[in-house]
Subunit: 115 residues, 2 copies
DNA sequence: TTTTGTGCAAATCGTTTGCACCGTT
DNA sequence: AACGGTGCAAACGATTTGCACAAAA
């Protein structure tokens, strides 16, 4: 398991379970998709990974677990970070009675110009 | 078809295909899930509905197609609008070369205090 | 030998697709 | 008789679960 994670340890990335599976398999260790999912979730629980819901179909995992937001390119299904310097949220909305804010997700959807 | 939509015409709501199916069936018209999906998507294309990706599993459709953001209660899987007065986004990030912004989705995740 | 942890085959479940049916031209 | 639109059964694909196996206690 730790094995698969040398893979994750290099570079900030956004991958889907399937993509990681492919990569891991192609590289060396043959491991089933289910295991990939289990592992990804475990890492996410522990806070090493951040799960990003962006298009309903696939689940993306971000190796950068810090608080930041994302660009998502429709059609290409590419996800990448928005620089922290590009402040986006200025004021948090007041949550309703009895609830507290867990996280704020911002997804800026892009499309190729002209496309 | 227009029939099912009398249902949608009353009140601003956020529903999943499954929920709508249940409602429609329970009420009167027996219609298959597939039809619900087809119809929802058609409405979304035309701009009467707004599709919200919030948790990867389910797809939510918002009868309020205007530009606004959402609260999402984890565990309860409830989605509702953030009042427009609660400004959240102040400055849009600059999109990368060759791309333009299509939409900005903001989801504020909540959890019950103490929960 | 019991317990705890790990990986995966098979099942699940939301969603989509291909096709049959029916009213219209 | 050909055409267009509609609904749905069956297929699909991403994700989860239940269980079998192995190492540790």
């Amino acid at each position: 398991m730790a094995l698969g994670w040398i893979l994750f340890a290099r570079g900030n990335r956004h991958i889907t379970a399937e993509l990681l599976h492919e990569e891991v398999t192609k590289a060396k260790v043959p491991v089933s998709l289910a295991t990939i999912y289990n592992t990804l979730h475990q890492f996410a629980e522990v806070g090493l990974l951040r799960q990003v819901a962006v298009d309903g179909a696939r689940t993306y995992f971000d190796t950068n677990a810090s608080d930041h937001h994302h660009f998502f390119i429709e059609g290409e299904n590419t996800l990448f970070d928005i620089a922290q310097t590009e402040a986006v949220v200025d004021r948090l909305p007041t949550p309703p009675e009895g609830y507290e804010i867990v996280r704020v997700d911002v997804v800026v959807r892009l499309k190729r110009i002209g496309g």
